[in-house]
Subunit: 443 residues, 2 copies
Amino acid sequence: MEGLTKIDDLGKPRVVIVGGGFGGLELAKALADAPVQVVLIDKQNYHTFQPLLYQVASAGLNEGDIVSPFRKILSNQDNFYFRLAEVQGVDPVAQVVETTIGRVRYDYLVLATGATTNYFGDEQMAKNAIAIKSVDDAIELRNTVLSNFEQALQLGDMEQLNSLLDFVIVGGGPTGVEIAGALSELRTHVFPKDFRELDFKQMDIHLVQSGPVLLKGMSANASQQALESLQKFGVQVWLDARVKSYDGYTVTLNTGQQLITRTLIWAAGVTGAPIAGLRPDCLLPGNRYAVDEHNRVQGYDNVFAIGDIAAMRTAAHPEGHPMVAQPALQQGRLLGENLARLLAGKPLQPFHYQDKGAMATIGRNHAVADIKLFDKEYHLQGFPAWLAWGVVHVVSLIGFRNRLMVLLNWTWSYLSHDKGLRYIIGKAKPPLQEAEVEEKAIV
Amino acid sequence: MEGLTKIDDLGKPRVVIVGGGFGGLELAKALADAPVQVVLIDKQNYHTFQPLLYQVASAGLNEGDIVSPFRKILSNQDNFYFRLAEVQGVDPVAQVVETTIGRVRYDYLVLATGATTNYFGDEQMAKNAIAIKSVDDAIELRNTVLSNFEQALQLGDMEQLNSLLDFVIVGGGPTGVEIAGALSELRTHVFPKDFRELDFKQMDIHLVQSGPVLLKGMSANASQQALESLQKFGVQVWLDARVKSYDGYTVTLNTGQQLITRTLIWAAGVTGAPIAGLRPDCLLPGNRYAVDEHNRVQGYDNVFAIGDIAAMRTAAHPEGHPMVAQPALQQGRLLGENLARLLAGKPLQPFHYQDKGAMATIGRNHAVADIKLFDKEYHLQGFPAWLAWGVVHVVSLIGFRNRLMVLLNWTWSYLSHDKGLRYIIGKAKPPLQEAEVEEKAIV
């Protein structure tokens, strides 16, 4: 394999990073000047800015504006090598990663595989629900929402009609709150103009949250504000409610209540995405690898884990840090420095999480933010929070081009009350079955 | 079918337009103030700006920037109705169109179904080649080009390597010339940075043209300039050559010459896309409907055809007008006016094609243009032609948002020598077969 053999020519220790999310990418960058060869393996050729996936799903942004090809981001980093492949396992004795393009040797292995949607073993749910965890998910959801209304034009029966117009979102974290808000904006400002023949008073948006508050983990103030804003926007919020089952049409809650929808959006939890081959005892509940304060996987010398897949249990975070961007970014950066220290024979620095707070947007001019700066906590809501949310997300995007495009799209949407990207391209839901359409009349 | 029945409430004559390309969309707009109900049926929910598809294929533009949802374009037109459906046939006696969502009655039917890729009956070619006729085609080509290089990293054998790095484009019209130019730009400015391990001197771009000149139909000057520019950019142009066969790996020309490639781009011709149910004698060779000077299909009173699917045989164009945007736009506009005249009992106006010329871009600062203004013809080449090409295409795009986004993307690409959208999302080629990779070494 000449292509891969060339990698070896550097003659430096090789760091193999599995996964190019926030943590893996930050680590690759942090190793730019280290005397190592950096090999990043990912099953996509691009980094995804996950916090904005819900905007792709709601026709506000092009998928192209929130992804960045790895080769483009790091084209100037001489020690960086990328391989498009899926990792199937690791052999820690041979120090080799098994992938769909062959075996890749490592000196240091860093698992940054992130998290995947957690259906808690409910296979029927996994089959029928739509998640918002990847670009493909977001595109599928956008296409499904748009197809629903096209199909609704063919139906007369009220329950059938509502099965297409109504949406049930499960999970009251940031993703659930944000997609609920985005759908309610589309219902108010966009869809009634597009589909004059449909009555959007019939379109219900349900948000089901298992606990007593939305945005668990944020301040009580933020949770309450999010609830009030969503209710103001006409979202029906079900607190302390769990979905017992969903067959693709009927949602049954633990209260016995039933909701009818062909579109259930599952934002109710994630679980680590471990790979085969490591000792089972280093995997904690939640499928996260137990790591020490240097992100070293328990029981291994040269295997590390960062971000969502790593659980560094500390006094403040006994089950590991929150599975969001900041711990991944900070761990990636520190591990880059620590690997350089390791090679230089210097002592490693322990990880200290710097919590910068959390934010969620609910819709036009409405957001909540708990911001931690210099050990002080600030609570923002309404327009200031919404503006802060926008600034933080634009600045965090990778590359000038994406920042500019997202900023322009947002400015355009804000001024025009419009979401321009309402096209059905790519994976879409199948058309209604013949039997589902009551009548094929000559009109 | 309540949704569709509502359409009838207008109680006005119904014009059903099949296909929302340049002609169909222009007609729908032109009928805005006519006392008719306009029903547009298309299998996509968006209009595609086909002249820029090749830029989506070469990672220069987002697909979202060159498509516009029909419902968005015409959301302010009260007499406009859209249906997302595929048309399966027409029953001119019952005055009904058969579609995948049922039967749709018409008073006036306008066929604007456009053209489809013509493989001249070569099924092997249809299976193995990639076209650039739809958004799906363009996305598939972009993903294929990018996947090729990722896969090339796994190969050592020189012929195998070249099968992935080399491209054969069949057809020397504007599309063939433009994609050849775009690939050569990527080869020079973009890919060598992305794939430092590959030797892009190995990447050959072949353009095969059956006739003696490129851009047949344009001025001799333009044809010659296009040829010289492509050769300067390192494209191997084969004039007077035809592809005899392609099995997905080996291209055999009529000269006996063989080229090796896994990616053959077919831009060698289109054919009309007629629908079942009309009398066979109104269909001319090339699958275009014979229409009179009012675009009325031969032998029918209330069935019309416009654009690529219509062949209006005139002294200047004995086989019908060129299958490009301008005749479609002009016929759509005139037919809108003529249908209003028909309903008002006024005499119809005959169609006179106003030829505005033709243009093609070859790459950065290089284009050719034959522009007809006030009965004079102007020939531009090089930078002025390239600038004119850009202005005409930006202005022709639908919607301010798309114009702005395309302009910004182009400005960005021009200044940075970069094509930013090098992500593999959507339909992609399958990975190499196990047997195709010689060796899966531990590297």
